[in-house]
């Protein structure tokens, strides 16, 4: 006698007919499908950083893709790998997504060699975002070090688009030397059009440099911060936000109004690969944006 196990083949049941929506948790099944994008523009910011404009090719997918400032996406370069990158453009921009990418390894290296018209893929957006609504009616302090300006561009756009909802907005930006400053061509617009106080500083000046030199914390000496009415967003290398956050803490800025964006190794963006774990928290799902109170409570965070 032979019994047969009915072949309940899962492959025969289509998982979904519509394209995936990564930000709609309930409908996601095809978690590894990427949206195909074309690189429609490449702007060389410094020898190490380039700004890429990506246009999602499928109109339906382009329509679905929406994100909030502070979120990141997984950028796929077929055959080379996938890397997490913060979105550097306005969440209102439906035409293209801007990514500011530093040449750092295998994937970013080949991306820097890519030409306009190249096709890459994205998955996402993933992760938490900055609480833009909560900040309404407050002063905002944006503090960036080096490449940390990239994730701040999205909130900057948001603020500019809703400028009247916020009080004083300052951007403190420090880099190691003048040539590594990013987006210099936009500073005038930020200051004049969007009324953002921009303070820049470099660790080490060069011949043409007339601005400030020193560590980013020097900039605090030039300003008064109202701890009762200010939100702060800090992005940059770990060592920088340690100093900056310590300072803000010392002037009694509440920890739950300080936000940082953490960086860890990532391979999925979906809380599965565990590469981005800090203690028992996923940087990709529970972060990358954390308030400082949470960070203080994370083991091995900084």
């Amino acid at each position: 006698m032979k019994y047969k196990l009915p072949k309940e083949d899962i492959n025969l049941k289509p998982f979904m007919s519509k394209p995936p929506r990564y930000n709609w948790k309930d409908v996601i099944m095809r978690t590894d499908k990427t949206y195909k994008c074309e690189i429609i523009n490449i702007i060389e910011l410094t020898p190490m950083e380039k700004l890429f404009h990506l246009k999602i090719l499928d109109p339906v997918e382009r329509d679905i893709f929406s994100f909030r400032p502070g979120q990141f996406l997984m950028l796929e370069v077929p055959g080379f790998g996938e890397v997490p990158i913060s979105i550097s453009s306005s969440s209102n921009n439906k035409e293209y997504i801007a990514l500011c990418i530093r040449k750092a390894g295998r994937v970013t290296d080949i991306l820097h060699k890519a030409k306009k018209g190249a096709k890459v893929g994205i998955r996402g957006p993933f992760g938490t975002s900055f609480p833009m609504e909560e900040m309404i009616g407050h002063n905002i302090l944006l503090i960036a070090g080096g490449l940390g300006l990239a994730p701040l561009r999205a909130p900057l756009y948001w603020i500019s688009e809703h400028r009247d909802e916020y009080e004083d907005v300052s951007l403190l930006y420090g880099t190691k030397d003048p040539p590594s400053m990013l987006f210099t061509y936009e500073y005038a617009e930020w200051e004049k059009v969007n009324h953002i106080d921009l303070l820049t500083i470099v660790d080490q000046g060069d011949d043409g440099w007339t601005g400030r030199t020193g560590l980013i914390t020097e900039l605090f000496k030039e300003m008064t911060i109202d701890p009762d009415n200010t939100f702060a967003i800090v992005c940059g290398p770990p060592i920088m936000f340690k100093f900056v956050c310590n300072y803000l803490d010392s002037i009694r800025l509440p920890m739950n109004r300080m936000f940082v964006s953490l960086e860890r190794r990532m391979h999925c963006g979906m809380g599965k690969c565990c590469r981005c774990m800090v203690g028992s928290t996923f940087t990709c799902v529970d972060g990358p944006v954390f308030d400082y109170w949470s960070v203080m409570n994370l083991k091995e965070a900084i």
Binding site: G79, F80, R106, D109, I110, K113, A114, K115, K116, A118
Partner: protein, 254 residues
Amino acid sequence: MKYLGIDPQKIKIGVFNFTCCEGCALALANKEETLVDFLDLLDVVTFREISSDRGEDYDIALVEGSISRDDEIERIKKIRAQAKVLVALGTCACYGGVNNLKNQFKIEEVVEIAYGKDKVETSKVRPLSDVVKVDLEIPGCPVSKAEVEKIVVDIVNQSEINFPEYPVCVECRRNMNTCVFDLGMICLGPITQAGCDAVCPNGGVGCLGCRGPAEDANYESFREILEENGFTMQEALERINFYNALPGMVIDES
């Protein structure tokens, strides 16, 4: 890659051999299912074992074998001068390999053992990097063709080359082998760099460390393990010295 607007470049290679068994060069001709595609990525300028073409305009020199005679030094220096990238292929080229076992004897003694009274010229065995600058080391006795393929594809696509940093055990356990320590034998897998897909433990024998040390290998702990498993230091040393590829793993003989 074309879709990125980058044209893959055929690479002009020369394959050369020094003191060795030529197994690494031969390994390049294996893996028949992809051989034709593989050769298509290359512009083979010199490869004496399979071709009578002898060009001089190679960019990448794949060199197998170690240096064990003075005329070899001249030859490798010439190759170095021509090649833009010099790749040490295999454990002999990277570490001296089994040839290194010769160095435990005096030169005259070695000649005497193999050739009796006849005179034969030879010197101490050295890895390539002792004589010339080496740009890339691909270890293995022999090299793994799959790994070489991956590296060649990366070079053709102008992409960065990555090697696994972890030890052979990772691959071995992925293959669900029975750990050879459980079978009562020594395995150097825990301190050896992966990348061979753990062929030796797959075949039921211990790793001999042909691929050199894994990143941050824990020699101290490994030594204790050998002791706890009842192996004498001599037994352990015989294996560690076999390929001379684990220079950090020094064991006190006392």
